[in-house]
Amino acid sequence: MQNQRLVTEMTIYKRALIVPPDDIFDVHEFLKNTWDENAQLAPADRYSIETAIIELATNIFLYSEVTGRISCEIVVEIHSNKVSVTMTDNGDLADLELDEHVMPDEFSESGRGIPLVRALVDHFSYENTDRKNTWKISKKIHS
């Protein structure tokens, strides 16, 4: 009798950034290359995940304008039924309670980033440990 084992297929894409000189367009470029290799992903899933990643990257990169150069790594895992993303950075530790961020009124000019990420994905978490920020998101996919 042949041994059987459960194989979970997953592809991992990584991008390390130093900001500056890297900027938000480097994240767009990394994601474009990732999507090009995963044509099975539905456009709506790609839009949701890319928008959430760019919102988090923007949040991280904005702190580099205050604190100087920041290291950031983005890891995207493409599973058959979901996409998971882990982003880490060494910027100032964020004092952040995700649940406290609600969508502001229509005429507000800021404050939509975190609520928008929550609306885009199925799972969203943040923690700061060992002087490192870790942001995790995941979304079920329909392909």
Binding site: Y47, E50, E106, S110, G113
Partner: protein, 110 residues
């Protein structure tokens, strides 16, 4: 991001944007809308046909422009949002104050 500004009528300007409306391009859009309104064109139509991405920074620039135009007695309207832009407008409820028109040049023809 490229911005093409065109005066199409009495106090009416169309800003055709091309590229990604993110943290880098948002200040440029905000400044261009301000300059357009200050020049007397307080009815501003934003053509989003060639904008393939918007984030909350971009939304902030559009809302800032909407308030600038209204304070001058005009308005800001959007036209032809792509799929990602429509998704973000809906999730943030901004579609309630920025309804999408089919054509930027006729957005103020009513």
């Amino acid at each position: 991001m490229k911005i093409h500004t065109k005066i199409v009528g009495d106090h009416v300007a169309v800003l055709k944007l091309e590229g990604k409306l993110n943290m880098v391009s948002a200040p440029k859009i905000r400044d261009e809308i301000h300059a357009t309104v200050t020049a007397g064109n307080h009815k501003v139509a934003i053509d989003l046909t060639d904008v393939d991405f918007i984030d909350s920074s971009g939304l902030g620039a559009l809302i800032n422009g909407l308030k600038t135009a209204r304070q001058a007695g005009g308005d800001l309207r959007i036209a032809c949002p792509t799929a990602q832009v429509r998704m973000v407008l809906e999730l943030t409820n901004i579609d309630r104050v920025l309804k999408a028109y089919e054509n930027a040049e006729s957005a103020f023809s009513d």
